[in-house]
């Protein structure tokens, strides 16, 4: 997977988030460079998902700025979204359609190298035999695999994943973990939240504990 590794930088300055009158975190700082992974730790409800959504630009922070190569992400939204791959809690899989149709949709919509066929993609996520099954009949874990398939074809640099490992069986976690490692080696960037441990190699990843940024 070749990625042009011009040096990119994602920084967050004095970020604060308030939900329903309650301040979840304030003046939070972070910066991420090529080949680095940031793992967001913190108990439930401390604002992990809100922080991810602020970084993707889906929701706005109460104050503070997220910038990509020193540009505020709101001003360069189109370009930023071109580099951004976000997989949230929900699997974003159309349950009425079959696995094949969902994968085709993914390939058509997201910037990806197109020389990989749907069959190969299904192979990556181990759903080769289930191509014509409608997703409604798949288990939650399998539906997650369909949404994670994007990791195997995406040429986007910044990956933001919300609890990517939930509902996955052990051997598939292996597959995802080394996929992430390849992405980092190729100069990509990853931000993810997870409850269980994930080893991406310590030289790449650092942790950000949301508990430290609680309003005192």
């Amino acid at each position: 997977m070749s990625l042009n590794t011009s040096d990119n930088q994602l920084t967050g300055v004095a970020l604060a988030c308030e939900r329903g009158g309650r301040v979840l975190f304030e003046n939070l700082e972070f910066s991420l460079h090529n080949g680095q992974a940031m793992i967001i730790q913190g108990s439930n409800g401390v604002g992990k998902t809100s922080l991810l959504r602020i970084i993707t630009g889906l929701s706005q922070s109460t104050n503070g700025v997220v910038s990509w190569n020193q540009h505020n992400i709101e001003s360069i939204a189109e370009q930023y979204q071109h580099e951004l791959l976000y997989i949230g809690h929900l699997a974003a899989v159309k349950t009425e359609l079959t696995v094949r149709e969902n994968l085709q949709l993914l390939m058509r919509f997201w910037p990806s190298d197109t020389n990989c066929s749907v069959a190969e993609l299904a192979e990556f996520v181990g759903l080769r035999q289930r191509l014509s099954v409608t997703c409604a009949r798949l288990s939650a874990g399998q539906q997650r695999r369909v949404s994670l398939a994007r990791l195997f074809i995406s040429t986007q640099k910044l990956w933001i994943l919300d609890e990517p490992l939930t509902a996955l069986d052990v051997d598939f976690i292996e597959v995802i973990e080394n996929r992430l490692q390849n992405h980092l080696k190729a100069g990509g960037m990853v931000i993810l939240t997870t409850h269980r441990g994930i080893n991406l190699g310590d030289q790449f990843s650092f942790e950000l504990n949301l508990g430290e940024y609680k309003p005192h």
């Binding site: 959504r53 889906l58 189109e78 976000y86 949230g88 929900l90 974003a92 349950t95 009425e96 919509f109």
Partner: protein
């Protein structure tokens, strides 16, 4: 474009339309004179309510399974995609109504020579109804009691469409020139087709905030 054909069958708004239209002769009085006088209004109001009721389907399924979230993050022009979604909704709800309305109008002794203008007004207006409705649904998407609220928000905007269409039908019933009304409805369609998708994108962004 991304007009995902809904696999689930979408009969409920049509069934609603049929039942409510047949309520009127039972409720009011089956006498011919009165009914044919009321017919345009009845058909139109019921069609309007049927579309309004089915608005929720447009974003709800995508919202629940997360694909609407992805749509907002697409680098490409989001407005076109929203436009495609609205047209998909119109095709699955609006068009069948346009086909069904003339048939139902016979039940109400609808002045037959005005049925043509009934179809035309519905054809021009049902997209407007879908467009305007989509703003209401987009705004109330993240709320639990969203459905009722979105109708409350959108109904005032339906009034001009209702007025011009029913007037057009009445005019054609007593064979008066009708082109003026069609032009107005057409203009309203063009304006909303161009402006509304932008409002919907902004509304979706707010719902996700």
């Amino acid at each position: 474009m991304l007009a995902i054909r809904r696999r689930r069958e979408l009969a409920n708004p049509l069934v609603f339309f049929v039942i409510v239209v047949s309520l009127f002769p039972l409720g009011v009085s089956p006498d011919k004179e009165l009914l044919s006088q009321m017919a345009p209004g009845v058909i139109w109001v019921t069609a309007l309510l049927a579309t309004l009721m089915s608005m929720d389907v447009m974003f709800r399924s995508d919202y629940d399974d997360g694909s609407l979230e992805q749509l907002l993050l697409l680098p490409g022009p989001k407005v076109l995609l929203i436009g495609a979604k609205i047209t998909a909704h119109w095709a699955s709800i609006g068009l069948p109504l346009v086909v069904l309305a003339p048939i139902m109008s016979l039940l109400l002794y609808f002045p037959t020579h005005a049925i043509g203008s009934l179809v035309v007004t519905l054809l021009i207006s049902t997209p407007i109804l879908s467009l305007l409705g989509s703003v209401g649904v987009a705004l109330t998407l993240s709320l639990r009691s969203g459905g009722i609220l979105s109708s409350l928000l959108i109904l005032p905007f339906y009034i001009p469409v209702l007025i011009f269409s029913t007037m057009a039908i009445n005019a054609s019933a007593n064979s008066l020139p009708v082109s003026g009304y069609y032009a107005l409805l057409g203009a309203f369609l063009i304006i909303s087709a161009l402006l509304i998708p932008f409002a919907v994108v902004a509304a979706l962004r707010v719902s996700y905030n």
